[in-house]
């Protein structure tokens, strides 16, 4: 059987599974649509949350980032797992006790204000949209790789599938689909890593291989030392030493962590379990499941870097492995023969930061039109030619997108086709599960918080679900557009912005809502607006309006600015709060109420949302 056959079998089976589950657990009421009825077991919820969490960025892009930047990529590893500690100890038990379906609901009730609810809805929409864009891009990359179609067609087919089962199944459908998706992902991620660990380090456990010896060809050197040597020989910095400034590294990690704790689609996942005790248990499971993948990512990164360099550097193009040519076709890898020797050379950064590692001018490769003459399409060695001009200030001839590392990994290691097919199924599961979870939050924010709680309180249950479905369609259309025309080159980066936005808006507001009884409406609204406005303008200015790197505030890149936005939110809120009246007594009593895990005498655990 060929690779394509395997791909179709694995992906076909997994899709049939997801859609089957979605149809079977179709949501009937708003309660089921929003929180799956509130009775999911902690173990299943842990798995579903992990799948929800494991986005395309994590799955596809992260190991690639680790491979390319070594130590510096630790910001993603720590940021995306450490946030769970914050989420579990600071947020979810209390929000779960509060017992409403959405995050804007909490903000609206805690701050006794429609304006606060409205601001929270807007923040939620912003965060989810930014995040979904990254996911749709991921789906596009995988599909185009898989079926040899362009990324736009890939993005659109992904969108159609997500819409079908997220819109249909609501939270209930999503939860059980995500359990299946987590299993696919976990196998897809770890199995190739194990094979490669055995090949490179003679160690069954990849994590031990990374800190063990490199054993190919009877050599016995510490693996990381070998990797450092390879790196420095080609002109890169040592793999184990970072290049990023400590301030920037700190801020990005902090923004990712606090962002995690403020991400609405992760928070709502904990509303689906029975009570506060189950929330804590579920959070432990979630992090454990996530750790399985996150502990594997650095090993995949390191292994694939060694493989990539050894397979490609100084190899004549005509003898280059088949997978290289496959990826070249889809525009994910490119070779510009600068010195005309027909060999692929991969070298480290040029003289200055601005032109580091530049193979050609511009950020990503541009190709000639379809109808261009043959000699502009195909080079003398059979390579795909680029329309972009070569950057001759640099001897480096090889370009590849971060997003390709995980997918190319099993190819590089020469693994059997079924492993590659499994990996493909995992990639798609990752992107779909997160996109579906986000879509749900987005549509809930619009239908429940905007339509029902602000615009028209008399909305019937049925209409609410209808609005939710309409909103998911609209949101998906926008996300598809941006998935096709991404605002930033790499998935991980786009997603990092969503975290910045969450960190600067929801995190402080929720935190103060729980831990400060004095925090009032005026403070929260002012804080949210200032925090998110600052963060968005910083990102837009430096990312899209051509702000220069040297003008960064204290050298903090747009990915990490959410950390400062968060501090601004805290500061503004506390200041405004001092000069405005304290919240009413019943609100203060409510805050007391959510601080204890069970209700007072005879009171039942507050049932999650409310059919009206």
């Amino acid at each position: 059987m060929t690779q394509d056959h395997w791909n179709f079998i694995f992906i076909g089976i997994s899709f049939a599974l997801y859609i089957g589950i979605a149809v079977k657990s179709r949501a009937a009421s708003t309660k089921e649509y929003y929180t799956a009825g509130g009775g999911v077991s902690p173990f299943a919820n842990g798995m579903a949350t992990a799948a929800d969490w494991m986005s395309a960025a994590t799955f596809i892009s992260m190991a690639g980032t680790v491979a390319i930047t070594g130590y510096d990529a630790s910001r993603f590893l720590m940021g995306w797992t450490g946030g769970f500690v914050l989420l579990t100890v600071l947020m979810v038990p209390f929000l779960r006790k509060f017992g409403k379906a959405t995050v804007p609901d909490f903000v609206g009730d805690r701050y006794y204000s429609r304006v606060a609810r409205g601001v929270a809805v807007v923040c939620a929409i912003f965060i989810c949209m930014t995040y979904i864009m990254g996911q749709m891009r991921g789906v596009g990359v995988v599909f185009s790789q898989l079926f040899g179609i362009g990324i736009p067609a890939g993005v659109m087919s992904g969108a159609a599938i997500v819409f079908f089962y997220a819109g249909l199944g609501g939270m209930k459908g999503i939860t059980y689909t995500q359990v299946a998706q987590y299993c696919v992902m976990a196998f897809a991620y770890t199995i190739p890593a194990i094979f490669i660990a055995i090949a490179l380090t003679n160690n069954l456990v990849p994590q031990l291989g990374l800190i063990g010896d490199y054993t190919v060809g009877g050599e016995h050197v510490p693996f990381l030392e070998k990797l450092n040597q390879i790196n420095t020989k080609l002109g890169f910095q040592e793999y184990t030493s970072g290049k990023m400034s400590t301030v920037n590294m700190f801020c990005i990690t902090a923004a990712l962590m606090c962002g995690t704790a403020g991400l609405p689609h992760v928070i709502v996942r904990f509303f689906t379990v029975k009570n506060v005790v189950a929330v804590r248990k579920s959070a432990c499971w979630t992090l454990a499941f996530i750790a399985v993948i996150y502990l594997t990512a650095p090993t995949i990164g390191a292994f694939s870097r060694v493989n990539l360099i050894q397979k490609l550097h100084q190899t004549a193009y005509v003898e280059a492995p088949g997978w290289f040519k496959e990826f070249e076709k889809t525009g994910q890898m490119a070779w510009v023969d600068k010195n005309g020797d027909g060999k692929i050379q991969y070298f480290g950064p040029g003289k200055s930061e601005a032109q580091r590692n530049a193979v050609f001018q511009g950020k990503s490769p541009v190709y000639p039109q379809y109808d261009a003459p043959k000699d502009q399409q195909v080079g003398p060695h059979g390579q795909r030619l680029l329309a972009s001009k070569a950057d001759m200030s640099n001897p480096n001839e090889l370009w590849f997108g971060n997003d390709i590392m995980v997918m190319a990994n099993p190819h590089m290691a020469g693994l059997p086709p079924w492993v590659i097919a499994l990996l493909m199924a995992g990639c798609i599961a990752a992107a779909l599960s997160t996109a579906a979870g986000l879509l749900l939050v987005l549509s809930t924010s619009i239908s429940h918080d905007l339509m029902k709680r602000i615009v028209n309180p008399d909305l019937s249950d049925k209409d609410e679900v209808r609005y939710a479905r309409m909103a998911s369609f609209a949101a998906l259309a926008v996300a598809t557009y941006f998935g096709i025309n991404p605002p930033s080159a790499f998935i991980a980066k786009t997603v990092a912005f969503a975290f910045g936005l969450a960190a600067s808006s929801f995190f402080p507001t929720l935190l103060m809502g729980i831990f400060s009884k004095r925090m009032n409406r005026e403070g929260a609204i002012a804080g949210m607006i200032c925090g998110i406005t600052f963060t968005i303008s910083y990102i837009v200015y430096f990312q899209f309006l051509g702000g220069k790197t040297e003008h960064y505030l204290w050298g903090i890149s747009p990915e990490g600015i959410g950390c400062i936005g968060m501090l601004i939110n805290f500061a503004v809120a506390s200041l405004v709060c001092v000069f405005t009246p304290a919240p009413p007594a019943d609100i203060q009593a409510m805050v007391d109420g959510i601080r204890v895990p069970v209700s007072e005498d005879g009171g039942e655990d507050v049932p999650p949302p409310v059919s009206h």
């Binding site: 590893l77 450490g82 500690v85 038990p93």
Partner: protein, 94 residues
């Protein structure tokens, strides 16, 4: 059955204990991630014994902190369940 007054009193004491445990957890959380992985990393790389063949700070940043987080959460959840039991908040759970 507790009357309203005593229950809110034990509630506020419970909350104080809760905050105390929270503080300790977060202190550990900060030192395994930001501390070992970023701020003290260079120092740890040199002065601490390597983990396998990986420098200590680097290992903490890429693997150790994640293992640390899982442990923190498990400890937290056990601790909180004990605290709940002590203040009589568990027997009402169905």
């Amino acid at each position: 059955m507790m009357n309203k007054n005593s229950s809110s009193q034990s509630g506020s004491q419970y909350w104080k204990r809760n905050l105390y445990g929270l503080g300790i957890n977060l202190a550990i959380w900060f030192s395994v991630s930001f501390g070992c992985g970023i701020l003290w990393r260079d120092w740890l790389d040199i002065h601490f014994p390597p983990v396998g063949h990986a420098p200590f700070g680097f290992w903490m940043a890429q693997q150790g902190s994640i293992i640390g987080f899982v442990v923190i959460l498990i400890v937290y959840s056990v601790m909180m369940n004990k605290l709940d039991a002590k203040y009589g908040f568990t027997n009402k759970e169905k």
